[in-house]
């Protein structure tokens, strides 16, 4: 064998060994056949459609967080104007990022501008159109975009903590990348995402607030009417359950008028635990302890408000509104839940609150039995088509067909090994990509072989026919592969989940194919030619 050819085979051998090692040799070198099988199963990462599991896409309502920031600014501005004796007719939020102040008294408008310029650096001020002495405050775009990003980061973090606390295996929590306010949650092996979904969606906001009006109202309109259409400053209306009915029982909705500012929020809690309820047998309560700083506020507050009602606001709903009977220092409890509900509440409280509420956009759940069927059918189809194609190649091209079969099998091994090395996930469309790679591999071999046959017909000797055949087919193979690669790349860049899985197998398969159908196949031909009788005919 000439040295050049020898090195070719050494190189091919190294590639094959690397591939086999990548498939079965990691993470621990196998010592038994069972270990080989185990490694192989571990190395090929299966997508949710094959393994079973839940795929959720949710949207964070970022505008809420921006609107909240705006509300806070309105509250602060109102307070400071009051302190500085500036006279303003009206301060009102127009939308999520704009505040309108009307009828600023000309005598105090200078100090008003000073106040905004010095105390509200996140806002820009401009005269309001159509107003004699009004201003529009706009949140700076840089502040808005930073707030958006922070909100998304915080939401992702909170959701990750909650999912991890649920103890599910290998969850994926990431931005989807297709829109700037979407998060993707994948829960492998989870056949019923109901619980995970409610844990993710719980806002996790716990607040203790003073009830401003001892009465409850059957509707929001009734609550407003009782106050002559205008709520007392610093209060708002929130829905809740009617008092007196046992928790868990379905009751009519009532409305409370509450102070807007909470006394205690979830961030003030030091520890949360569940225990069996003392007053409702069979139910559970959540006990909590306050941090030292919060306790220092809470003690005086409760002793000052004895016989008033305090609302426990959970996820923007009044959960209950007990009457304060005495001074409370640093501990309390919330009654009463079923055991799983109490556990989930503690989990959510520990993981922290979401910065804005979320909405589900997409939910896909593949049951494990369907996943198992898909693997079986996909693998069977792949092997079936491979066998059909190989038999045909062997009949049609005889000995050279063996060459093509070797190239095809090697192509598959490289494809799967590459995916294992790259940590790519095999999905159901991915299996389709594998089948299509087989098709492209066949095409390359057929192109070369037909060209060699043509050259032989033109009277060329076997050696030069092979050489010419490969050279001429080379350009065509490159052109066809690059074109398909271009489209597969666009598919990968602009496609979503399953389509990307398809594109990645196709891309890897095409590259492997160029190697096997040109380099490897040529080397085998050259070896054969070198050992062939001079006058013998090429078996093609």
């Amino acid at each position: 064998m000439n040295p050049q050819l020898k090195w070719k085979f050494v190189f091919i051998l190294i590639v094959i060994l690397l591939c086999i090692f990548g498939l079965v040799g990691l993470p621990d070198f196998p010592t038994s056949f069972a270990a080989v099988k185990q490694n192989l199963a571990d190395r090929i990462k299966l997508g949710l459609d094959l393994k079973g599991g839940s795929h959720l896409v949710l949207q964070v309502q970022v505008e809420e967080a921006i609107g909240q920031r705006c509300d806070q600014a309105v509250d602060q501005l109102t307070k400071q104007i009051h302190e500085k004796n500036i006279i303003v007719g009206e301060i009102r939020r127009i939308d999520d990022t704009h505040i309108l102040t009307r009828d600023v008294d000309p005598a105090t408008s200078a100090s008003f501008r000073d106040l905004v310029n010095s105390q509200f650096p996140d806002w820009t001020m401009a005269p309001a159109p159509g107003e004699t002495s009004g201003y529009i405050l706009a949140m700076k775009p840089s502040v808005v975009s930073e707030l958006r990003k922070d909100t998304m980061d915080q939401a992702l973090e909170t959701i990750s903590r909650r999912i991890n606390a649920l103890g599910l295996t290998e969850p994926t929590i990431a931005f989807t990348g297709r829109s700037d306010n979407e998060i993707l949650v994948q829960l492998p092996g989870e056949g019923d995402p109901t619980r995970a979904k409610s844990v993710i969606q719980a806002s996790g906001q716990l607040e203790l607030r003073l009830v401003a009006d001892e009465q409850t109202f059957p509707s929001e309109a009734a609550a407003l009417a009782a106050h002559g259409g205008v709520l007392p400053p610093g209060t708002e209306i929130l829905p809740g359950k009617a008092e007196g009915a046992a928790p868990g029982q379905s009751t009519s909705q009532v409305y409370y008028v509450l102070e807007r500012a909470p006394i205690i929020t979830g961030q003030d809690l030091r520890s949360e635990n569940i225990s069996p309820s003392t007053s409702y047998p069979g139910q559970y309560q959540v006990d909590f302890k306050l941090s030292t700083a919060a306790a220092a506020r809470f003690g005086p507050f409760t002793s000052a408000n004895i016989d008033h009602r305090m609302a426990i606001v959970l996820n923007h709903q009044v959960y209950s509104a007990p009457v304060i009977r005495g001074r409370i220092e640093d501990s309390g409890m919330i009654e009463s839940f079923s055991q799983p509900a109490a556990q989930d509440l503690v989990l959510v409280l520990r993981a922290g609150a979401l910065p804005a509420s979320i909405k589900y956009l997409e939910e896909r759940t593949v049951g494990p039995s369907l996943g198992a069927d898909s693997i079986r059918e996909g693998v069977r189809a792949s092997i079936g088509s491979l066998v059909v194609v190989m038999i045909f190649l062997l009949i049609y091209y005889r000995l050279s067909g063996v060459n093509a079969v070797v190239a095809l099998v090697l192509n598959l091994i490289i494809l799967v090994a590459f995916m294992a090395y790259a940590g790519a996930t095999l999905t159901l469309p991915g299996i389709a990509g594998v089948v299509l790679t087989i098709g492209m591999g066949v095409d390359s071999n057929v192109l070369v072989f037909e060209r060699i046959r043509e050259e032989l017909r033109n009277g060329k000797a076997p050696a030069s026919a092979v050489s010419l055949g490969f050279d001429r087919a080379f350009l065509t193979i490159i052109d066809t592969h690059v074109t398909t690669l271009v489209s597969a790349t666009f598919l990968f860049l602009f496609g979503t989940g399953p389509v990307q899985g398809f594109a990645i197998t196709l891309i890897i398969g095409l590259i492997a194919n160029i190697f096997t159908s040109i380099y490897v196949s040529r080397a085998i031909f050259d070896y054969h030619l070198a050992h062939m009788e001079r006058q013998a005919e090429l078996s093609i």
């Binding site: 589900y360 369907l370 049609y396 066949v442 602009f494």
Partner: protein
């Protein structure tokens, strides 16, 4: 063995028949689309899809009535016939169109469908037993740990043992019995499933006669977004290929190839409408693949035309194109034939999930092969004739031409 030797067909002389055939196919496709519309899958339309397996033949009429009396009038129910998988005979897919504005909870539709099924089949029986066929491994593990049928007490590792046992039991259910167990005796063969374990299961669980295999819920905004994304990906892919071919050959070749590919996609879409297949994300992947395949065939012929233009200086372009198609014919038929076989196997054996995908490929491979000689090649010939220089031409990259010009 050789099948196609010395073929000599005047392809360009028959171009007008090809064009007529294409026009007829396009017309049939467009009439189908006009009559039935394009069926978007739930990926693009938004909505709910629940895939249910029953232990026996599914009572489709009963379910349909149940859905209608629950007010789910715009629901659809469809049995599945899959010759490769006998157990899927008992599967049905229940679909529900997107309802309302999308402000209500996303999974309201799924809940409504499940309620109907539970009402008909009474899964949660009077004793309040849990359904073994729908329990998750973790829930089963928790249950077993609580009941402790092996009397492990609080020995260390008791929880782990029950977790493993639960996994084995659910694996047997999902992999050996297709997700639905009809008698607890079927679990006897499971490693660790001793009689006490089976007794515990028997007395605490019921065996529901259906199981949910797959749920897909897509919100309305996502549907529109995915649709836009798919169209964009296709257009970008086409533009990318046009640029590449224009760079390697000449722009008229690129245009011809893209027109041929467009023709393939349109005809395939027509067939989809005709046979009531739905366009899903995977079908878009299939359409793009067939775009790649069709391009492949076209490029192989164009490559040969380019080579022959250099060798055959005296022949006219139609003759050269004819010769090129004939020379590559054996390759074209072999490759397309084998690819056709491959996707046919996929179509017949690949299971329900890949059905629409492989249908697109089966149609696409045939149309794509035909369009390379029936549409793409004639466009190049006609264009050159129109420029009035039928004989002289003109493939070869711009770079090659510059070299030729420099030599002069």
């Amino acid at each position: 063995m050789e099948l196609f030797k010395g073929v000599n067909v005047d392809w360009m002389g028959k171009a007008k028949y090809f064009v007529s055939l294409s026009l007829i196919l396009l017309a049939v496709g467009w009439i189908a689309i006009w009559r039935h519309g394009i069926h978007y899958g739930i990926d693009f339309r938004g909505g709910t899809l629940v895939y249910v397996r029953f232990s026996g033949p599914p009572p489709i009429d009963q379910i349909r009535k149940g859905l209608q009396s629950a007010g789910l009038a715009n629901s659809s129910i469809q049995g599945i016939s899959d010759i490769s998988n006998r157990s899927s005979q008992n599967d049905v897919v229940i679909g529900l169109e997107q309802q309302g504005t999308g402000d209500e909870s996303l999974d309201a539709g799924k809940q409504a469908i499940l309620d109907v099924l539970h009402k008909i089949f009474g899964t949660a029986d009077a004793a309040g037993k849990q359904d073994f066929n729908s329990i998750t491994p973790s829930a089963l593990a928790a249950y077993l740990t609580q009941k402790d049928p092996l009397n492990l007490g609080t020995t260390t590792g008791a929880g782990d043992r029950y977790t493993q046992l639960a996994q084995k039991l659910t694996d047997a259910r999902d992999k050996d019995y297709g997700g639905i167990v009809t008698s607890f005796d079927q679990l006897k063969s499971v490693d660790g499933a001793t009689q006490p374990v089976l007794n515990t299961l028997q007395s605490n669980f019921s065996l529901g006669n259906f199981t949910i295999r797959n749920v897909e819920i897509v919100g309305p905004k996502v549907g529109a977004q995915l649709r836009r994304q798919a169209i964009l990906a296709t257009l970008y892919a086409l533009a990318g290929m046009l640029v590449y071919i224009a760079f390697r050959f000449e722009w008229v070749y690129g245009v011809a190839a893209v027109i041929a590919v467009f023709h393939d996609v349109l005809i395939t879409l027509g067939f989809f409408s005709l046979f009531h297949y739905e366009i899903s994300l995977t079908v878009i992947a299939a359409l793009l693949t067939l775009v790649g395949y069709s391009m492949n065939d076209t490029i192989v012929i164009f490559d040969r035309v380019r080579e022959n233009l250099r060798l055959m200086r005296r022949e006219s372009l139609p003759e050269i194109v004819n010769r090129s198609i004939n020379q590559t014919l054996s390759r074209t038929i072999l490759t397309s034939g084998l690819t056709f076989l491959t996707v046919l196997v996929l179509f017949l054996m690949g299971g329900e999930v890949l059905r629409a995908f492989s249908f697109a490929m089966v149609v696409g491979v045939v149309v794509g092969t035909y369009s390379s000689f029936g549409i793409a090649a004639p466009i190049v010939v006609v264009w050159n004739k129109y420029r009035g220089q039928g004989a002289v031409s003109s493939a070869g990259s711009a770079a090659e031409k510059r070299v030729a010009a420099a030599r002069r």
